[in-house]
């Protein structure tokens, strides 16, 4: 069970939200223009952060400023603006490098999303290293984005996709994971945080187990990048993927981190401009890492926006965000679990701000519609993790996922909303 701190409920307690470090959620909320709007005549209660996060004004303004002042194509012109745009783009790369504590900026590759990052590794590293009879090891809590690219690869190579099981709390069974690491395993791909269950995986241990057998590890960090301080050198993972849009940045931009030694040996992903150093019809010489993996004009404004987002997170302090979201999770788990008929799906000891649940006799979809009438946005469905639904024998769940701007009052609103759902279905 998730540890639940005993906590007085009620508004007096809920109003006391300033942590000792000075993280003031109400001040933070003012940074997000969308949170000021009404939805269906009510204050927006946005609890769908695992799907995508809202953007602070700093991000929106950085993107506007880029288009108003700096826009040009990168790495090509000699003119002033081309220089400005290139500098902005490369500065974004450096910000991401330090956000992940990567050893070098070349280890940061700009992609469209976490999904593209995983596909890139499957299609380059994977295709170069897998042969018939080899294996790829994932876990039972992966998002479809970390299942299907490997399935496609395995089909092409007549390799086998192995799946490490989870227990009833939604935790990886480490012994089984270790047992499945075989001489045939060519790569391990695992979520840092499960988007359907909230489970935080014991990555450092998993990476060590895999590396003991010489197997590289890709981490799907889509949910973790905005929720935990990530240090890729300390984790020692070989690849780390995340999306800008879940980390308070814009859509259309994502990141693949890879260890330089691996990236240098990998074949290119897509062909096009920028990824080459010379082209004749006979032979093309590829550009250096990271440009080798960045064919065509990238999402430059997206990179600038992502930089602004990560700087915003650094400004608030990731440890403060972790503490705030943990408090929300604890408060919400306690409040939701008290409602008769509720079953929480995913009760790992190590858990991030994602709360999946089902209510007896009410389909999550109906719950979602009724909550929406109250201005409360949650996600309902299988969360692109159908194998997880199957594991817990449900078709779908309702999922409230918290962000740095959520408050206990919003969780109180969610609880009142669920009471309303029960009234409709009484």
């Amino acid at each position: 069970m998730t540890r639940v701190l005993s906590m007085a409920s009620g508004s007096a307690q809920a109003a006391l939200q300033e942590t000792p470090s000075g993280f003031d959620v109400h001040r933070v909320r003012a940074d997000f223009p969308i949170l000021q709007r009404k939805v269906r005549g009510r204050d927006l209660v946005y609890l769908d952060n695992a799907a995508t996060s809202q953007k602070p004004a700093a991000v929106i303004e950085a993107i506007s400023r880029y288009y108003e002042r700096d826009n040009s194509n990168i790495h090509r012109g000699v003119h002033y603006l081309a220089e400005r745009a290139t500098a902005e783009f490369e500065a974004a790369r450096k910000t991401i490098q330090s956000f992940l504590n990567a050893a070098r900026p070349e280890e940061i590759i700009f992609v469209r999303s976490a999904t593209e990052a995983i596909n890139l590794v499957a299609q380059t590293y994977g295709r170069a290293h897998l042969a018939a009879g080899d294996e790829v090891l994932i876990t039972a809590m992966e998002h479809h984005s970390d299942i299907v690219p490997w399935q496609l690869l395995c089909e092409e190579k007549q390799a086998r996709l192995r799946v490490a099981p989870i227990n009833d709390a939604g935790e990886l069974i480490l012994e089984e994971f270790e047992r499945l690491l075989s001489p045939r395993t060519k790569i391990v791909a695992v979520a840092h945080i499960s988007n359907a269950l909230g489970t935080i995986n014991p990555l450092a241990t998993m990476v060590r187990m895999a590396h003991d057998k010489g197997i590289p590890v890709l981490v799907d960090g889509a949910q973790a990048a905005p929720r935990l301080p990530v240090d890729v050198q300390e984790l020692d993972c070989d690849f780390y993927a995340f999306s800008g849009h879940k980390a308070y940045g814009p859509t259309g931009i994502g990141v693949l981190y890879g260890k330089l030694a691996l990236l240098e040996k990998m074949p290119p992903y897509q062909g096009g401009g920028d990824m080459i150093s010379s082209v004749t019809f006979e032979k093309t010489t590829f550009n250096k890492v990271p440009h080798k993996f960045e064919a065509g004009t990238p999402d430059m404004a997206g990179a600038v926006g992502l930089r602004a987002a990560l700087e915003y997170l650094n400004g608030l302090g990731l440890p403060n965000i972790v503490a705030h979201e943990h408090e929300l999770l604890t408060y919400a788990t306690d409040a939701i679990s008290r409602i008769p008929g509720i079953r929480v799906i995913g009760t790992a000891r190590e858990k991030a701000g994602v709360l999946s649940f089902v209510l007896d006799g009410v389909h999550p979809h109906d719950m979602g519609t009724i909550l929406d009438q109250e201005g409360i946005a949650i996600r309902t469905g299988h969360h692109c993790a159908q194998p997880v639904m199957e594991r817990f024998a449900v078709d779908a769940t309702a999922r409230a996922s918290f962000g740095l701007y959520n408050t206990k009052e919003e969780i109180d609103a969610l609880v009142r909303g669920i009471q309303k759902v029960k009234e409709v279905f009484a």
């Binding site: 269906r40 979809h365 109906d366 519609t369 469905g381 078709d395 779908a396 409709v424 279905f425």
Partner: protein, 148 residues
Amino acid sequence: MADLRDLYQELILEHSKAPRNYRQLAGADHKAEGFNPLCGDHFTVYLKMDGDSIQDIAFQGSGCAISKASASMMTQSIKGKTKEQAKELFEHFHRTVTGTANGDGSDLGKLTVFAGVSEFPTRVKCATLAWHTLQAALEGSQESVSTE
């Protein structure tokens, strides 16, 4: 503003809790499965045909209140109808739940309780899943249908 009571009408709630014709149909000669991959709803519709008319119909599966009630009430309103009549009824039902019916007069009977769905565009797929599945069953296609 859309009113929840327009969507979750008493009759709909009642059917969702106690769906009619909810069983496997012995001796069915047509069958189809329908999925809504977005929310995980899935239904199987069974038919027993007598020439061109639907002699018996039943369904099984799981889904939200709207999709379940829609399936239940569909089975009631479709029994005894011909293939052509069933198709016409679906078209009318579809116009009603998408809010494009313009009051064309023909009688939907009890199915008019689903008119409220038109104010909830994200729920149209729920209301029509069983109907799409019925159509697949009537056409005898073996493939499962999906509302995505």
